[in-house]
């Protein structure tokens, strides 16, 4: 007896003893599982976090830079209300009155700190030595036609307003409400703001039905994140139905279906407990965990149940014997596949995006629990539940069809291994090349598909009024009060001018504009003075005068710091994809470093830039994680197969599907987001199962039965072909459900996973057997025991 056999026997013994123990103590096992689940479940808490900051780790340099900027000036979250009157003219008495009223109302928004609208724009004008600073349209109801025409003229020629608060045609305008959220609990604060805004809009539209209103901004974005999380969590229900149906069709047994359902439910309830214990707040990426666990966990149960029912139905074994036999045959495969899946999900921790750490950890925990429950609750329940002794299954049409289907495939591979290898490698090579054509794109507005109100409203705003993305630079002057230095202001002005020359730019808000405007007003509104003041004293004193004339909430604190040593430039840009966005921000930084003194150099920051760089950052950090996953999983494979060469060979069918997936994606969208970066490690843990099953059957045929490579391939097809198709279908249905998500981080991830899983099955059925045949020595293998782990 060789060493393999010894190990095989001890593993066998362990599985048999385990099964016997479970059957003997079936009630204890079942009750303790229920108790464990209840205890875990009671710790459970589903809290959501919609703040976009959750996507960034504490050490994320872009987040740090952005927070630093917000600390210097004001920390702004906003709600933009875009008003489009049916008559396409903002400048009527009625419309201005309505806007003025809504602006007034908007001040009542919880946590609001500032409201900018066309009516309360602080219009500065001069009359002799008097300086007037006042709302552009105050008490609009009493304005004459000519006064309204004046207001129109002023508004449409005011650079601070056009393309920001009003469109050049004067048919669409915005009210921008700045809120300062305390940030203690976004799950409470954000709905408080949004409910107030929604109520305000409803009231307003009742009174002024002529307005169409679209809502966007950072607060609605947060709301959309919240809603996406909950919607994706609701997909669990659909998946549950699919699981019940699939299990029932495959097992044709109510008891088995019930047992499977309990196992997956227990696994999910336990994971919810894990979420509560770890204090994880769910975000859109992590909120898909129940569907994922369902999808992945159900395979364990199906394997165990199918073998058991087959033993009862075909071999007329007694229930307990069939159960023990099924446990003996499946214990190690289920353990190994669970292990690889857990490894795959745990590697998400290498990334730089916290929601995916959560997803990885929750699913890894859920899968561990699923393994535990599949090997305890499931056999216990099957032992408890009465099961009729099955009739002998007649070979139905389906299996004959399967047989033929397998035979066709295997004979094809056996006859043409070289051709198949060459063609496959060519296709894989081509798609691999294509996969490099993908570019990262994390335009966070586009995370939401067109069915989401936030997305359609935001699209409306970018089509009709202004850009929704921006880049900000905090530009220092090198000294306290230095923003009044004409040298600084002139450079700032040049920067502003340069920005306006860029094709991407829609609007620039810079302090140099304020300085020019005040200078003009100080010189009797003479257009010739619409330039930077001549001396620092003038600039400083004008600014002092101007600041004294501004009302509550419309001060310059959002543009200049307390020390007056730095000012903020906000550039509103068109919708750019991530690489263009990064390139644009970089161009701005480069311009500053080439044309200005050191102290004026600044880096561009904004939420959009943070998201733009997120994909790259995640990819870089996940690279290490993917290598680790590949190494670990290959190691598990080599151990499981007890063959170093085949372990290495298995890398091909495990890595190729991911390359194929991204290659096909390049043909489909060619843009990948942060959610898809995790796909490699995750799918690796899942698709490796196919390879392992196929290879172990091949090896068994070679070692135990001494078959030729060709015959061994045939054997592998016959034994695991159907099982692999079955598990693939279950996996596909799970990820297809997820691919319906309205949230792109989830739906894209699911879609590419679908492609990868299909590719994996095809590669395992074509390229893998071809390679096995080609790499096997021609001489008949010595009879040898195959892996201890797989010998169904």
């Amino acid at each position: 007896m060789n060493a393999f056999k010894k190990i095989k026997n001890s593993a066998n013994k362990f599985a048999i003893n385990w099964a016997r123990f479970v059957i003997k103590n079936k009630w204890y096992v079942f009750v303790s599982a229920v108790v464990l689940t209840t205890v875990l479940g009671l710790q459970g808490a589903m809290k959501f976090d919609g703040d976009y900051h959750v996507f960034f780790s504490k050490s994320n340099p872009e987040l740090e830079a952005f927070d630093a900027l917000q600390d210097k000036y004001t920390k702004d979250d906003n709600v933009i209300l875009v008003l489009s009157p049916k008559n396409k003219n903002i400048f009527t008495k009625v419309n201005l009155t309505a806007i003025e009223e809504l602006t007034q109302q908007a001040w009542n928004t919880p946590y609001s700190s500032r409201v900018d609208a066309i009516t309360n724009f602080q219009y500065t004008r001069a009359e002799n030595d008097d300086l007037y600073v006042d709302d552009l349209s105050y008490d609009s109801i009493n304005k004459s036609e000519s006064e309204i025409e004046d207001i129109r003229q002023i508004a449409l020629s005011e650079p601070m307003l056009v393309n920001r608060i009003i469109n050049p045609e004067g048919s669409v305008t915005a009210i921008n409400i700045t809120v300062r959220l305390p940030g203690e609990d976004s799950a409470l604060e954000v709905p408080e703001v949004m409910n107030s805004i929604r109520a305000m809009i409803t009231e307003f539209q009742k009174k002024y039905p002529q307005f169409e209103i679209h809502t966007s901004g950072m607060v609605p974005l947060t709301t959309a994140f919240f809603e996406a999380s909950m919607k994706d969590m609701a997909l669990t229900g659909i998946m549950l139905l699919i699981v019940i149906l699939t299990t029932f069709i495959l097992t044709r047994s109510v008891q088995s279906t019930f047992a499977t359902l309990l196992v997956v439910l227990f696994s999910i309830i336990s994971s919810v407990g894990f979420v509560g214990i770890m204090g994880i707040k769910l975000t859109p990426p992590s909120s898909v965990f129940p569907t994922m666990i369902l999808t992945l966990a159900v395979a364990d149960s199906i394997h165990i149940l199918m073998t058991m029912l087959q033993k009862i139905r075909k071999e007329r074994m007694s229930k307990f014997d069939a159960l023990i036999e099924s446990m003996r045959l499946n214990f190690m495969p289920v353990f190994i596949t669970s292990l690889t899946t857990v490894i795959g999900f745990l590697t998400m921790n290498f990334g730089d995006v916290p929601p995916f750490w959560d997803l990885g950890n929750i699913v890894a925990f859920g899968m561990t629990m699923a393994f535990l429950y599949s090997t305890t609750v499931l056999p216990a329940l099957m032992a408890i539940l009465p099961l009729k002794k099955g009739r002998v299954d007649k070979t139905g049409k389906v299996s004959r069809f399967n047989y033929e289907w397998h035979t066709i495939l295997s004979s094809l591979v056996i006859r043409q291994p070289i051709a198949i290898t060459v063609i496959s490698v060519a296709i894989i090579g081509g798609l691999t090349y294509l996969s490099t054509k993908n570019s990262f794109n994390d335009e966070f507005i586009n995370y939401f598909d067109q069915t989401v109100q936030f997305r359609s409203d935001t699209d409306y705003i970018s089509n009709h009024l202004t850009g929704v993305y921006n880049v900000e630079y905090s530009i220092g002057s090198g000294e306290s009060g230095g923003i009044n230095n004409p040298d600084y202001l002139k450079k700032l002005n040049e920067f502003e001018d340069w920005l306006y020359e860029q094709p991407e730019v829609i609007h620039v808000s810079a302090f140099s504009e304020v300085a020019r405007r005040i200078n003009r007003s100080m010189h009797g509104d003479d257009e010739g003075y619409y330039r930077i003041p001549d001396s620092r004293e003038e600039a400083a004193q004008y600014l002092l005068l101007y600041e004294l004339s501004l009302p509550f909430g419309l001060d310059l604190n959002n543009q200049i710091n307390v020390d007056k040593s730095e000012s903020r430039v906000t550039v509103t840009v068109k919708n750019l994809d991530s690489p263009d966005m990064i390139a644009f921000a970089k161009r701005g930084e480069d311009w500053l470093s080439q044309h200005t003194p050191d102290y004026m150099h600044a880096i561009g920051v904004s939420p959009m830039l943070m998201f733009s760089k997120l994909g790259f950052r995640q990819a870089n950090s996940m690279f290490k994680g993917n290598i680790v996953a590949l190494l670990l999983i290959s190691l598990v494979l080599m151990l499981a197969l007890r063959n170093f060469k085949l372990g290495l060979l298995s890398l091909i069918p495990n890595v190729a599907p991911v390359l194929v997936g991204f290659g096909i994606w390049a043909l489909y969208k060619a843009q990948i987001n942060t959610g898809m970066v995790i796909v490699f490690g995750m799918t690796l843990g899942i698709i490796v199962d196919d390879t392992v099953h196929f290879m172990s059957k091949f090896l068994r045929a070679r070692r135990e039965y001494g078959h030729s490579p060709q015959r061994a391939v045939e054997y592998a097809f016959q034994t695991v072909g159907k099982a692999l198709v079955t598990t693939t279908i279950v996996l596909l249905s799970g990820f297809l459900v997820l691919s319906t998500s309205s949230f792109a981080l989830n739906s894209y991830m699911a879609r590419i996973t679908v492609v990868i899983i299909i590719a994996a099955l095809i590669i395992d059925f074509l390229l893998l057997p071809a390679l096995l045949i080609l790499t096997s020595p021609i001489k008949r293998a010595r009879r040898k025991y195959t892996s201890i782990l797989f010998y169904r």
Partner: protein, 253 residues
């Protein structure tokens, strides 16, 4: 019978409401009276601005005030630092009912500009003080409601009359044992959320009648920014007259 009770309850409510109003007004008048007769004063002060991260910025000012009885006080503020605004000064005539008049002298162009803005709610030179917090506190600028009496403290709620005020209300704590001096003010913004708290500290008694705090500390609860006014000196013997509060006087500084 039922109606009578209802009427009585209603009357009582109206009565207590109007009583609270009267008592609030009384206190405001008493406070004004207690501070009456200082005629004129001059002080130098330092304004310290602090943001959320503790970054600090300073300005130095001189303030001169002329007391008027029939109308609001006149005041003149001269900036001594930062350097680039040195010599810039504002002259304000507060009025009891109409909007205040305000002029600014800009030494860089040697011109006096009249600021014709009804905006009094904005921050004063980037600080947490609004102009309306600093201007002379005329009784007519608010309506009142007495809230409570605690030991020697009287708490009165004040509602600004000016629709352009940045506040819905202020809650003012007076010290009735010390010439009705103000101990603290809570400011509520337009949506009636607590915005700022101003505390007065280190009071000194001048001429045995006039209480002046050496330190005013304004904390903005929403932005977490702070501003401190430190009065370095008070002079009640300057004997200023109307002539010291004219546009020409502005230029002289």
């Amino acid at each position: 019978m039922k109606n009578t009770v209802l009427t009585m309850v209603l009357l009582l409510t109206v009565y207590t409401a109007s009583q609270a109003q009267d008592r609030g007004l009384e206190i405001a008048i008493a406070a004004e009276k207690a501070d009456m007769g200082f005629k004129s004063s001059a002080s130098t002060l330092k304004m310290v601005l602090k943001n959320k991260n503790g970054q600090v910025s300073e300005r130095a000012l001189e303030v001169r005030t002329l007391e008027l009885v029939e109308d609001g006080d006149k005041s003149l503020i001269v900036f001594s630092s930062p350097k680039d605004v040195k010599g810039t000064s504002t002259l304000t005539y507060t009025h009891k009912i109409e909007p205040d008049d305000q002029w600014l002298y800009l030494p860089s162009i040697k011109r006096v500009k009249r600021i014709s803005s009804s905006n009094k709610s904005g921050p004063f030179v980037g600080s947490e003080f609004a102009y309306e917090d600093l201007s002379s506190q005329e009784v007519e600028k608010y309506t009142y409601k007495f809230l409570k009496e605690q030991n020697n403290y009287l708490v009165v709620e004040q509602y600004p009359v000016d629709p352009k005020s940045g506040y819905t209300r202020r809650v003012v704590t007076y010290n009735q044992d010390a010439g009705y001096r103000i101990e603290s003010i809570d400011f509520y913004d337009r949506k009636n959320a607590l915005l700022k708290t101003l505390t007065y500290a280190n009071y000194n008694l001048y001429k045995n009648k006039f209480w002046r705090a050496a330190e005013l500390h304004m904390v903005n609860h929403q932005s977490k920014k702070e501003t401190q006014l430190q009065f370095l000196s008070y002079d009640f013997d300057v004997n200023l007259t109307d002539d010291d509060f004219t546009q020409n006087a502005l230029k002289r500084n």
